[in-house]
Symmetry: C2
C-alpha cells in the first residue's frame, strides 16, 4: 500500500468525520502556526490511527498498540470513537498521567517491559494470539498517509507557505507531510532535539540507525530510530535541497513553550514546541521571501509547564 | 459618535493591522468556539483599545486607563504597539501577575485606591491634568465599536451560526456584538456568573444599577454596573426575544475551564470559560436546529488552573 498524494487524499476523505480540522493562527514575526495540538486527543496522532483502523479494518479482536505517549492516547481515543476494543501496551516508565488518559478512553492498559521496545514486542506477541489489528506508532503506510492529511489540510488553509517547520520523532508525521509535498515546491525543516537525533543520524548514515533517546521531549519524540518507510523520502527531499535537518537544545524548546504561552496563550508539550524552537532560537533562519509555517503538534503535558 | 454596523466595519478596517484574526474550532456537541483568548494580550480587549486610540487620536501625552485586569493589559499592549506613552491605574487589590504583565508592555503602572472605582477616579483626575486620552474599559463608543469587530469577523468565518454565547462584565463586548447583530436574525445568550450579575440586575431594573461583584470570575467580569451605552441595545434585543440573560455558578465555570483543557487543550480564565459554562451546565439549552457559537474571550490566568 502506498502513502502518496492519492493515498493521503483518500485518507482525508476516510477520516473527515473522525478528526478535527485544526485552525491556524498567523503570528507576525513567527509565521503561520497550525494548531494541531487542539486535535482530538491532544496531538496529530489520531489522523494516522483512524486511517489505519478504517483502511485496514478491525474485527471483534479490536486493535492493539504500544506507546506510553501520544500514540497510545490516540489509538485509545480512536478505538472508543469507532466502538472497537483496544489494548495499549506501555513500558514501566510510562507516566501515571498518560496511563490515566489512556484508560479514560476505555482502553485496556497493559504495563510491562523496561522500555518502548519491550512493550512493542509484548504487544506484537499478544496481537499474534488474538488477531487484533496492530496500529504502529509511525512505520505503517496507513499511519503515514493519515499523518499526511495534516499537510493536505494545511495547504488548503495556507497555500502561500514555502517552508514548513515540523518536529521529528520516529518520522511518521514528517514522512506523511513529505509524501504530500514530494513534488511541490515546499521545503520541510525537520527539527529534532539534540537529545533525540534519530533522523539526523539516519541522514548521516544513509539509513535508519539506532540513536540516543533523551532530554526534555523524549516522551513524544524519543524514537530509537526513524521508520524504514519514511527514510527514503526524507533522503530524496534532502538531496533535492527541500529538507533541512535542524537540531535544537532543550533550552530552546523550553523557551519556545514559554513564548507560545506569553504571546499567544497556547500550551504545547516539549515535542509540540520543538518546531517553533528552531525558528525562535535561530537554529534555522528563513531565507529572504520565505513564507513560514510552524506545526504545533502536541499539548499532552501539565499546563503548568507552559508558563 | 455611533457604534452601529457602519462604525464597526470602519473599526475593523482601522485596526486590521493591529489585531489578530482569531481562529475557530468546531467541537462536536458544543458548537463552534471562537478562540478570542488567542488575541494579542490574551483577551478581546485590544480590539476596543486600538480602535479608541486610532479613532480619537492620542498625542504626546499618551493614553491612560484604569484596570487591574485585561483592559489594562490591552491598553498597555496597544500603546506599545502604536508607540504611545501609557499610564495604567490599578487598585491595590490588583494581582502581582497582572501588574507585571502591564509593566512588561512598557506602561507606567500607578497603584492606588481600594477598588476599581477609586483607581478610575484617580486616572481621570490625572488625565485632566496631562491631556492623555482616556480609554474606558467598556463605556465609550469607539471601545464598543472595536469590540464589535469580533462579531463582524465571526460572521465572516461562520455565517451559519444562529445563537452566540458571550460572557458579560461591564457589557462592552456584548454591546459591540449586539450593535453588529441588531438587525440580524442572531440571538445572543448573555452569560454572567451568579457573583457578578450586573446585566441581569440592569434588565430587571430597566436601567444600569449597582450590582454585587464577587466569585471566581470577578477579576475579569466584575464590573459594578453595565455601561450606559450598551444597556438600551441589550434591552431592545431582549424585548425582541433575541437576547437571553443566563446566570451560571462558579462550579459550572470551573467545570468549563477543565472541559476546555481536557477536550481541546485550551486554557481559559474563569471569565473566558463563562459562556461555555452556560452550555455545558445546561443553564442554557439550545433550541432545536440552533447553530451555536461560543466566544472564549480571555486566558490571562495561571495555566496550571486549567487542569
Amino acid at each position: 500500500m502506498p502513502f502518496d498524494r492519492s493515498a493521503i487524499a483518500a485518507a482525508a476523505r476516510r477520516i473527515a468525520g473522525d478528526i478535527r480540522r485544526t485552525p491556524q493562527l498567523a503570528m507576525p514575526g513567527w509565521g503561520v502556526l497550525k494548531l494541531e495540538m487542539l486535535q482530538l486527543g491532544g496531538s496529530f496522532k489520531p489522523r494516522g490511527a483512524f486511517n489505519r483502523m478504517r483502511a485496514a479494518g478491525a474485527g471483534d479482536a479490536g486493535v492493539i498498540a504500544a506507546s506510553g505517549g501520544n500514540h497510545g492516547v490516540a489509538v485509545a481515543a480512536a478505538a472508543q470513537s469507532l466502538g472497537l476494543r483496544a489494548e495499549i501496551f506501555v513500558p514501566e516508565i510510562a507516566a501515571e498521567a498518560k496511563r490515566a488518559r489512556i484508560r479514560s478512553f476505555g482502553a485496556r492498559l497493559v504495563v510491562g517491559g523496561a522500555g518502548y521496545d519491550e512493550a512493542r514486542q509484548a504487544s506484537e506477541a499478544r496481537a499474534a494470539g488474538t488477531g487484533a489489528l496492530v496500529v504502529h506508532a509511525y512505520d505503517q503506510p496507513e499511519v503515514l498517509a493519515g499523518q499526511g492529511t495534516v499537510a493536505l489540510e494545511w495547504e488548503e488553509q495556507a497555500p502561500e507557505l514555502t517552508h514548513l517547520l515540523v518536529a521529528v520523532g520516529g518520522g511518521g508525521l514528517i514522512g506523511g507531510i513529505a509524501a504530500w509535498h514530494r513534488a511541490s515546491g515546499v521545503t520541510l525543516v525537520a527539527v529534532e532535539p539534540e537529545g533525540c537525533p534519530a533522523l539526523h543520524e539516519a541522514l548521516a548514515a544513509g539509513r535508519p540507525v539506532p540513536a540516543p533517546v533523551g532530554g526534555l521531549a523524549a516522551d513524544s519524540l524519543g524514537a530509537r530510530q526513524v521508520g524504514g518507510l519514511m527514510f527514503p523520502l526524507a533522503a530524496e527531499l534532502q538531496a533535492a535541497g527541500r529538507l533541512a535537518p535542524v537540531l535544537v537544545t532543550d533550552g530552546a524548546i523550553r523557551n519556545a513553550q514559554r513564548a507560545l504561552w506569553e504571546n499567544a496563550r497556547l500550551v504545547a508539550e516539549p515535542g509540540g514546541a520543538t518546531a517553533l524552537a528552531a525558528l525562535l532560537s535561530g537554529a534555522w533562519t528563513p531565507p529572504v521571501g520565505a513564507k513560514v509555517g510552524v506545526l504545533v503538534c502536541g499539548a499532552n503535558t501539565d499546563p503548568a509547564s507552559a508558563a
